[in-house]
């Protein structure tokens, strides 16, 4: 438990230790140093992401061709795929932050994991909703209990569990170790989502883009708006995460200040 005059996550201790340990991972353990970079980055990421996303969505709606098999409904891909990517990337971030919190006790790791949960949940929900809207004209159904859709729904429930655990932990004034363990264990769902279309005979289509093999079965005039949309929404996601981290750090600063005043 933190002592008097010290923040819950060692707000003040982090400030001191960062001065003594210049290793790359702990370079941003100092909240003041982190905020110095996060403040200008928040707006830059947000506005660049907004421009890219608006351009990509306009291209997806008006410039890209329709699909020979799916027709016009393929345009939903430009919002569905970025949402799916960010839903999964968000939990990957939570798992990495949880490992950093549990193994190296990085003071910003719990803040980052908590900041990732709501944006990740929003994009996981968007993935399910846009997928459902894509499924109706393409498959003739809004929902099917197949491997990809069910494992994505499980991811949304994991996010909701993480948010609830994090809130309960914050109210109790805990260190968030149970939430971090939950973040690590929940990562087991990520390969299940990714390989669900390989392991099971699903209604959902298989992988169209492979970064490992650097190959794509999508036509270039469809691929570029898709990559631009993925990048644009990723920058917006990063901006939202930075805003939430800044809010959490400001809240911790107020708590540390109140604790110091109470102990004086």
């Amino acid at each position: 438990m933190p002592g008097p005059g010290k923040g819950k996550l060692g707000f003040d201790a982090a400030h001191r230790s960062a001065k003594q340990t210049p290793d790359p991972m702990h370079a941003f353990a100092n909240p003041a140093r982190f905020l110095k970079i996060a403040r200008p980055l928040t707006g830059w990421l947000g506005w660049t992401g907004a421009l890219l996303a608006v351009g990509a969505l306009a291209a997806g709606l008006f410039a890209s061709p329709s699909d020979y098999l799916q027709g016009e409904s393929v345009r939903i891909m430009y919002v569905h795929v970025p949402a799916a990517w960010l839903g999964m990337a968000g939990w990957s971030g939570i798992a990495a932050a949880s490992a950093m919190q549990l193994i190296w006790r990085h003071p910003l790791a719990a803040v980052a994991a908590r900041a990732l949960a709501v944006p990740g949940a929003v994009f996981a929900a968007l993935c399910l909703a846009t997928g459902s809207l894509w499924g109706r004209p393409t498959w003739g159904t809004y929902w099917e209990w197949d491997g990809r859709m069910t494992s994505m729904l499980v991811l949304l429930f994991l996010y909701l569990g993480h948010i609830a655990l994090g809130s309960a932990d914050r109210e109790r004034g805990g260190e968030g170790r149970v939430t971090a363990l939950f973040g690590l264990v929940g990562a087991i769902n990520l390969p299940v989502i990714h390989y669900s279309v390989v392991w099971w005979n699903t209604l959902h289509q298989g992988q169209s883009i492979s970064f490992v093999r650097a190959s794509s079965s999508i036509a270039p005039e469809m691929l570029w708006p898709l990559l631009a949309a993925a990048l644009g929404f990723s920058l917006l996601f990063a901006s939202a995460v930075l805003m939430r981290m800044r809010a959490e750090l400001a809240r911790l600063k107020v708590e540390a200040r109140l604790r110091r005043m109470a102990s004086e």
Binding site: G46, A53, L57, L61, G71, E72, S73, R75, I76, V79, H80, A83, V118, P119, V122, A125, L126, A129, T130, L133, W134, R136, P137, F233, L236, S239, A240, M243, R244, R246, A247, E248, A250, R251, K253, V254, R257, L258, M261
Partner: protein, 43 residues
Amino acid sequence: MNHWPFILGAYALTVLATLGLLGGSWAAMRRAERQADAAGRTP
């Protein structure tokens, strides 16, 4: 079947949810940073 209502619905949902996420995060950040600044000024 006309696909456009589904396409426009998906785009509208994505734009609204993203704007809601960014707006909510921004408002929470501004509120928390203002409180932290006020707490820092308290003697």
